[in-house]
Point group: C2
Chain length 250, copies 2
Amino acid sequence: MGDEKITTAAVIIIGNEILSGRTQDQNLCYIGQRLENLGIVLTEARVIPDDERIIVDTVNSLRAKYSYVFTTGGIGPTHDDITSASIAKAFGVRLEQNAGAMSALKSYYEEGMINDARIKMACVPEKAVLINNPISGAPGFQLENVFVLPGVPLILKAMFEGIEDRLDNGPPIVTESITTNMREGQIAEALGKIQDNYSEVSIGSYPFFKRGRLGVNLVLRSRDKKRLESAGMEVRVMIIESGGKILDNS
Amino acid sequence: MGDEKITTAAVIIIGNEILSGRTQDQNLCYIGQRLENLGIVLTEARVIPDDERIIVDTVNSLRAKYSYVFTTGGIGPTHDDITSASIAKAFGVRLEQNAGAMSALKSYYEEGMINDARIKMACVPEKAVLINNPISGAPGFQLENVFVLPGVPLILKAMFEGIEDRLDNGPPIVTESITTNMREGQIAEALGKIQDNYSEVSIGSYPFFKRGRLGVNLVLRSRDKKRLESAGMEVRVMIIESGGKILDNS
């Protein structure tokens, strides 16, 4: 541990429809889970409108700060799809028609169906490496440490799987969930003391109200499996000693 | 129009559990919808970890930039609930036990159930104005233009309704949704031309794949109802002229 290099990431969700509440974002949750599996720490996410200046500034600020940046949304054929052009601007490079992307579009669309708007989806910043789209033809792309992905969750997932082998994994993060019928206020003090003794373990406490049950989910996360197990044991003992029960996770 | 003042807002979602993908955020979508109804433009959202320095920096950066800032999460009784203390730090004020908050807790909990951890939920920055929690006792608070709300969606909604009359409404935003069986690439060019003629109307294009149907939802948004209706009419005519159908919104 100690001086192991931590791989970090940020997600930029681009789209007026997320900010207006028209669309419930699903991509952040998915990307967060995949990165956690890869041992990459997702440190920040931003949701921003379809505005070139804001996209350029946000991408440039975050790509300097994190190992990886993933953008979602805005790479389709319509006038409000301005992500690719904005990324080119952020890097100060030209947007160009990419031969690989054109051939992907050609194999997806029937002959005669490729028009100017669709050709726009084959225009990516120069030197970008394509990200294959196994579902609807139009590719995403990687430029240095920035990965440009679509907004439609089904397509995003299919494309994300294809880039996981390009990412430097960090040491894997191990997690343990413990569910109890106790209320947060009943265990907070004892839980805080356990946290104080385990600086390598992050203990999160999340109250729930579902199917008529109340309780707390405690989630332990660490890169140190032994310390995680030991902290988990102490949390279980603490719950029993406080008069609580440990419930099935669900 | 023209020099009407636009009221803007940002949302800060505080919680490791959102970044790790353990929890699907639902609050941004809800707040976005409510603000749109109020004519307030939600311009940005950030998801950040439970980290005091990051909370302080993010709150200070965004409260200077937008009319309102709404934070969600981190106001419970456990060690990882550090939002209230961080907000006090961001404003350079003391955290103090609030009499109104204590009395709200006392009326919620049975006698003898209030311990130090729960008293922590009654500690808010000095000069904060409480936000009533009709569900589980512990209040949120407002400090200047920053509104501090909980992470549990059910409680957040109940509390948000209680603060809407504190917000300066902007001129209301009118929206119209038009659903078609066309693909984005088939209408992109004609749609872009309509957008070029209607700078006061924002036209968003969102492809969908659901229940075996493919198509596009076009969402028009404006503060100018007449221009919105006129743009909507042009979009409908364009779809028909392109050989498409207009479908029921659903």
